[in-house]
Every structure is written in structure tokens, then in C-alpha cells.
Amino acid sequence: MFPYLYVYALCAIFGIVSARFEWFWAIFIIAPFYFLKKYSPQQTTICICFFLLFYAYFQFIDTHNHTGLSPSTTSFKGTIASIPEINGNFLTFRFQVQSETLQVNHSIHSESEQRLLKKRLKMGMICSFTGRLKEPRAKENFAGMDYRLYLKQEHIHWLVQTTNVRLSNCTLSNPDRFDEIWKIRESGIRYIETNFPEEMSGLMNALIFGYRNGISREVINAYQQMGLTHILAVSGSNVAILAAAFFFVCIRSGLTREAAIHLIVAIIPVYMLLTGGEASIIRAGSMSIFVLLFVRLRWKMHPLEAISFVCLLMLLYNPYFVFNLGFQLSFLISMGLLLSANSIMKHCRYFLSKLIATTFLCQLISFPLLIYSFYEFSIWSIPLNVLYIPLISIVILPFSIVTFIIHLIIPQVSYLLVILLKYLIRLSSEFLLYMTEHTGTFIFGKPPIFFLLLYYVAILYYLIQWEANGVSKKLVRPVSAISLVLLLHWFYPFLLPFANVTFLNVGQGDSILIELPFRKGVYLIDTGGTVSFQEEKWEEKKSEYNVTEQVVLPALKSRGIRAVDKLILTHGDLDHIGGANIILSELNVKEVLYPTGKLKEKVEKKVLQYAVNQHIPIQVARKGLSWKEGNDQFFILSPYGNEEKSNDRSIVIYARIENVYFLFTGDLEKSGEKRIVQDTKPFKVNVLKAGHHGSKTSSSFELIKHIGPDYVIISAGKNNRYGHPHEEVLKRLKEQGTTIIRTDESGDISFKLEGKRMKIITTKK
């Protein structure tokens, strides 16, 4: 029928990618036609048509994807369009008003309100409330995600900060068919949440309903780090196993094969909705429908046709899918398996060898994509996949469904099953947590885009040799090719001849990363830290946001930083060293620098104690300490050792990096600045990190005059409660003719230095 449908699907994908990024990508789609004489002029024409069609289609959809609401809208009436999520004192849901969908955030005021909302607020309710529209935040860190873009791809343009949400203003809507399934899903999820112990309900909901919010962050991270996330997504294996079981039951109960197939084809769409309708399940479900229909009609079908057709349909439905990691992985892996199935059958004789070969293959073809999104890779991924894929999909999934159904019918009987399942699930997550705790990962860093191309060329070379010859001597070259790319990727940062000084946007706090050319030194000045407030039990969220975990660690990992030569903790404030333990435990820190003086704060004692436990040398820093790495020099100007207040003890570093002079001042205040001015001759500084986040108690006129900075960086949180940076300071700096760059406005700020050249890159603008 369509022998080259997969080529057209590829053309469509490239069309969309080209529309989003650059026409440059078109080269990759047009080039093959010149090398392969296989395609006739007609086919080439159709390919180019698909490319152009989807290019135009994406442009059309993207330009028409904008808000129709006025920013000043304050009252809203519509339908709750997602399962309301209550996390501590925070309620979120999606809200469908006439023209578009909004993301609603609501702060819960009391425990009774929380209880009531939890019980009563349901998806599909019609509500009205008042609130303010807020633009979602755009990308704020180089390694961070672009929330605004993410929401835009879901056709959401506004966050709503509610001023009040009253249940009395919410009514149940009239049932309609489509919504009914969503409601069943919601009640199913709630049923599991309330009737099963918390440690098992999360995984049960993920497997049965494709609802992962109930799993703790820790366990999710463990799954991710071990390359097992795909197991938590409802996909092809679930559909296959359930359909097979259902088929068997139908046949046993006297239905004909044909009737059973009809029934399954009718049920799959319901299952797709019941499991949340993610990209992976839509792909798997639609493909199964196609295959079953063709089998039923006794039509022959090319194996690649179903997957290509489903891909094209999904892209027509939502072209943004191309940028969805779940979509990418789902199609990549199922395509890979389709293409390799014959060869696996040919080369592997036993069940276990087939399983290992399949797992290895999936890992291999998804590796570049995964490393691009997660920066690290665990070598245990393959054995754990071999263990967990059958464990979860053959044991725990059917077990969960049976337990759930029996519990629904006769709860008393399910008692034993629940206990058994609980232990099974606990064992599976505990073991995974143990593995993440006790094994390391290879932090490769985010590869530049052309590495993806190199990876896939090497991998395809490997696959072609493997399928022709199995495991043989002929694999030596492709394996060396893959190893070469891996090595190149691993050592890539060591080949870069420039230095980077990056002021990470950690909100109200400091964290500055210094990378010297050729990776001769990696220094991290402060780690940021999240200030936690006293909260009541009901207010606590399942997992609190931690800026070091969410911003600093990804920033380091994305750059392929496995070791920090010096972790410089300027002083004992939480917003500077609050996340130090995370850095100390996750990365190989060679040395900690800490200012001289008496330890007072609880945090500083905790951090230093942890460093001691980890056998990390701690160097006490005071005025006069200096070091040199190639041409790059570092001098400590403060503390002297007799400071009283914590801020005054800040380590102040004067650094010359690639001919650019930096002054990092920590939280140094006026008195400290004055002492530096008194004790030194005027010295040149190109880039000054303003002391104490731009507080008026720092960045005194004397200091500014003394050093005459070209750029001043202010590391402060957006709308912070201290009012940093202070007007007065901004005015003072402007009068001196300096350029001010603020992390709250610009996001991460990076100085790329090579020889005499300097380039400033910021996340925003």
C-alpha cells in the first residue's frame, strides 16, 4: 500500500523541527535522496510535499496558538479540566474557560478547607472564582526547563493566582460521554489513594491509571537515574499484556475469536482515556487497533505502516508532540524493536538472551536522547531493566489490577493480596533506592546537538553490522565507533579552550560556577539554598522545592562536571550554603574552602561536619591566601579573622581569569568593603558581584570608586521580601557608569572568556 510511509513520517517530523528551529535541518531530509537512488521522482516529490506540508502546518498552528483573554481579566467561569492536585497548602488544576485552558494555582488557608477540597473538588465541576492572570515563567536557567513554552505546547497561556475558590461556587456538570471516562479515572485514582497504603498506591496508580503524581519524588528520581522511567509510563507492553489476558478470558467464556477481537478493538480507546492519554499510550493503543483490524480483515500490512500512520495521525492532531520526550522515546523504541525483531529472533536462541538483547537494544537507541535530557547514565541500567521489565509488567501490573478489582468487589477478601502486593512494591522501590544510593552514574553532560548525529551514525553502523552477522568480529569497528563518540563526549569539556564564569539564578541566594579552560579547574562559590518556613503538618508538601537540587545540580551535571576542585563556601548563611550537603554527596568535591572565625550557625556546623564525615579536606580561608592555575590567579582579600557578624566573614575573592578581573564579595557589608579599600591601592575590576544581593548596606561608593567595575552582577530573587537590590545601590552603580545585570531579570548569566575576548550570555533576552 504505502511502502515508504515511514519515510514520509520522517519528512513530516523534520518539517516540524525545521519550522521550530532552522531550515538547516532540511539538509538531513533532502540529502539522503541524493545518495540513495532507491526513491523514484514521485516518491521524492511526495517526501518534499510532506516536509513542506507539516512545516506550514506547524507554523499555522503555532502562530494561532495565542491567548484570547485580556490580561486584566479577574473573574473566571468554566470547567475543571484536570484532576485537582492538592500538595500541602497548594491546590492546582487546569481550568477550561470558553476560549482556552488556564493553569490555576490556589493557596489553601486552613486545614478544614484542605479537607473539604480534597473530598469535594472534582474534575468536570463547573466553577467560578476570581483571581489574577500571571504569565508563566520562561526559561530561567540554562539547564532548566521553559515552563512557558511547555504550557504553550499544551495551549495554556496564563497562570491564575486565585483570590478565592469557594466550593459553594462549584457545581457538578451534566454528564457527557467523554467526561464520564475521565471521571471514572479520577474516582479510581482516589479510591486507590484512600484504600491502599501510601507506599503502594503511588505505583498502583501509575501502572493502572497512568497517574504518577502519587509516587514520591525520591522513587521517581531513582527510576529515572536507573533508566527505568519508561516502565512507569503506560505503553505497548501494558496494552499487549492486558489485551492478551482479555482475549484469553473471552475465548474461555465461549466467545468466538472474531467477537473477542471486536471487543478488544472497542475497549482499547476507553483504556487509552482511562490511563490518562499520554503520548506513549496513544501510540501503543492506536497501533494495536490498526494491527487487530488488519488481522481481523485478513489484510496484509507492512509492519512499518501502522507505526508510521499512527505517527502521522498524532502529528496532525498535535504537531507539538514532536518536542515531547515521551513521544520521542515511545516512537524511537517501538520503531527500533520493529526493525530489530527479525534479527533478535535470528541471533538469540534462548528466552533470556532475547530479553537481554532487547533491553540492550532499547538502551542503545534511546541513550543519546536520554543523555541529552538527563545528562547522566548508570551502567546498572541494563541489568535492572532485565529485572524490572518482567517484574513490573508481568508480575506487579496484573497483580495490582486483580487486587484493585477484588478490593472493589469484596474488600475483606483482598486483605492478603494487599499485604503481599505491598511487600512486593516496597521491595521493588527499596531495592532501587538502595541501588541509586550505592552506585554511581556517569555524568556525561548535555551533548551539543551534533553529538546526537555522531551517536546515531555510530549506532546505526553497529545495528547494521549486528543484524547481518550477529555478535562477531565484524562488530569491532562499530563498537569502536560508538566508544570513540562516547569518549569524545566524555572528554569534550576538557577540549574547550575557554573559561566560563556563570552566575546561576538561584533566586534569593548566591551560586557562582567557575570553569577554567580545558577543565583545569572547576570552582563553585556557594550553592544557593532554600529557606524553609515553619509550617503546620497539613501545609507540608510531599516534596519541597530545593533550589540546589533543581538548579545548581542540573547546571553542574549538564556541563559534565563530575568533580569540583574547590567548593568555596563564603559564609554560614542559608542562602549561600544551604544546599552544600547536596553538592558534597552528589559530586566528587576535592576541597572545601571556609572562612576563618568562630562557627555559630547550625547550618555551618552541619555542612562542615558532613564534609569531615566524607573525608573532604577543609581549608580555612583568610586574607592572603592565593592560588594559581595556569594564567588564572585567585586572591583572598577577606576575612581577616576578627569579624563578628556572619556577613562580614564572607570570603572575598579577587580573580584574574583569562585577562578579565572579577571580584566576588559574598555578603560583605560596608565595613568590610571599607577595610579592603583602606588596605589596598585602587585595583581594576571588570566584573563585580555586588555584595549581599544588592543590599544598601553593601556596594558602598568608596568601593565602587576604588575598583571602577564595568559590569556589576546582582544575584537576587524575583520580588524578594528584603527588597534587594536596593534602589539606592542601583542608582549609585548607574552613576558610576557600570552595566548592571541581575539574575532575577536575566536568569543565569554566563561570561565566556577566551584570550582577550569576552561574551556575555544570559538565559533571558
Binding site: 512499518l304 527479525n342 534479527s343 547481518a468
Partner: protein
């Protein structure tokens, strides 16, 4: 999805990474029909190209089969045919296929052999001048085509029809070896306008059984001054 040239069933090309990248060879036979053909590989007789693995040790001399040794002992035939290479073993399936081509006129089926034939040609006989074994005029008229010529055409190189069959005799397939070996009269003669002088000639035929037809043809070519004479046949 295509129809198999031989059994006419719908079939699907094996899906693989090679297929995905467009590196696979175009197939015309379904996997079952293709599987029934036994390709010749491994150790072969250096002269006639028959697989030696199936051949008892005592009928071999070094890398030559006993048949070839015997040919080379005959004064008249010595050194005429330098080497023959064949694609497949002449098994029942191939016999059926060739019969269908020759006796039931399914000339299209011959395309199934194009790719392997081209490959063999490129590997061993790249710069040779291609000469098909001709049919007698009568037989050609009966059949409507010459299968050897069709085979030669598959190679996509200029084909030189340098030979004519002088006498219409019994089908080779109905004669014994002794009858075939004896030269009573030369069977082939040169076409006058064509010159094979100091050229390397590649003969094309469908089946190599005893090798006498090919050697007869080689004799005529040698007399006309050809340097080296080799051959390709479909079956051995």
C-alpha cells in the same frame, strides 16, 4: 508489499535496519522461494565452480574436481575454459524455475536472478566482453527468446552476439556425457562482423552440467583469437 515472481504470493520485504536505511537489496522473490535456492559458497572447484564440500575427497585433486581434471587431460579441450562460476546448485526448485522460464515461456521470472548475477559479474569478470550461448534458429523460433541472452542482458553491459549454432541437434539434456564430450563437428561458429580478437570473453548460459557446450563455444572463440574465456551460469 509485492507479489513473488515465482509463487505469486503477496509478501513483505524483511524489515530491518538495512531496510530502514534503504540499504537492502531489492527482492523479487518471497523469502520461501528465495530460501529454496541454494547459493554456492565456501570451497569450490577453481575451474568449474562447483562446491567441493559436497564432493567426496577421492574425486578431487587439489582445488580441482575430477571432471575438470579429466577435461584438462583431453588434448582437444585443454585450457579452453579458464573458469566457470555459477550462482546456485541445480536443485529441484531451480530445475522447476528454469523449466518454467524455458519451456513455459515465463521470461519475466529471469529477473529474479539479476542482482546476484550482477554481483558475481562485478566480483570476477568486470572487464570481460559478454557473449551469450546462442540457440539454434529453430529452437529460438520455437521458444521466442534465448534464455542465455536474457541472462546476459540482466548484467546491463553491452552484449555481443558473436556466436551462431551451426547445427540443430538434440537437446543437450537428452545426451550422455560421452556423447557430449566427443567433437564430431564444431557446434558453434563465429558471426563474421564480430571480432573477439585478443579480448577476454565471458560466456553466459543457464546450466553447467558437463561443460561441453561452454567448451564448444570456447573452441570457436579461441580460434577467432580470444585471449581468456570464462563463463557464468545460473546453475551448476
Amino acid at each position: 508489499m509485492k507479489h513473488c515472481l515465482y509463487c505469486d504470493q503477496l509478501y513483505i520485504d524483511e524489515v530491518s535496519w538495512r531496510f530502514f536505511l534503504g540499504l537492502n537489496e531489492e527482492t523479487t522473490l518471497c523469502s520461501i522461494c528465495r530460501g529454496s535456492l541454494q547459493e554456492i559458497h565456501g570451497e569450490i572447484c577453481h575451474c568449474c565452480g562447483r562446491p567441493l564440500s559436497l564432493f567426496p575427497e577421492k574425486y578431487r585433486q587439489d582445488q580441482l574436481c575430477y571432471d575438470c581434471v579429466r577435461w584438462e587431460k583431453e588434448k582437444n579441450w585443454q585450457g579452453l575454459l579458464t573458469k566457470n562460476r555459477s550462482l546456485y546448485i541445480y536443485n529441484d526448485h531451480l530445475k522447476e524455475m528454469i523449466a518454467r522460464i524455458k519451456y513455459r515461456g515465463d521470461a519475466k521470472l529471469i529477473e529474479a536472478f539479476q542482482l546476484p548475477l550482477k554481483k558475481l559479474f562485478k566480483k570476477h569478470f568486470k572487464d570481460y566482453t559478454v557473449v551469450p550461448i546462442p540457440l539454434s534458429e529453430k529452437r529460438h523460433y520455437e521458444r521466442g527468446f534465448n534464455q542465455a541472452e536474457l541472462l546476459a542482458r540482466l548484467l546491463d553491459v553491452p552484449v555481443m552476439n558473436a556466436l551462431v549454432r551451426t547445427i540443430h541437434e538434440e537437446k543437450q539434456s537428452k545426451k550422455s556425457r560421452a556423447e557430449r564430450i566427443a567433437i564430431k563437428h564444431p557446434i558453434f561458429r563465429m558471426v563474421e562482423q564480430q571480432s573477439v580478437h585478443s579480448k577476454n570473453i565471458l560466456l553466459i548460459d543457464d546450466v553447467y552440467t558437463t561443460g561441453s557446450t561452454l567448451r564448444q563455444a570456447a573452441l570457436a572463440l579461441k580460434k577467432a583469437g580470444a585471449t581468456t574465456i570464462c563463463s557464468i551460469t545460473l546453475a551448476r
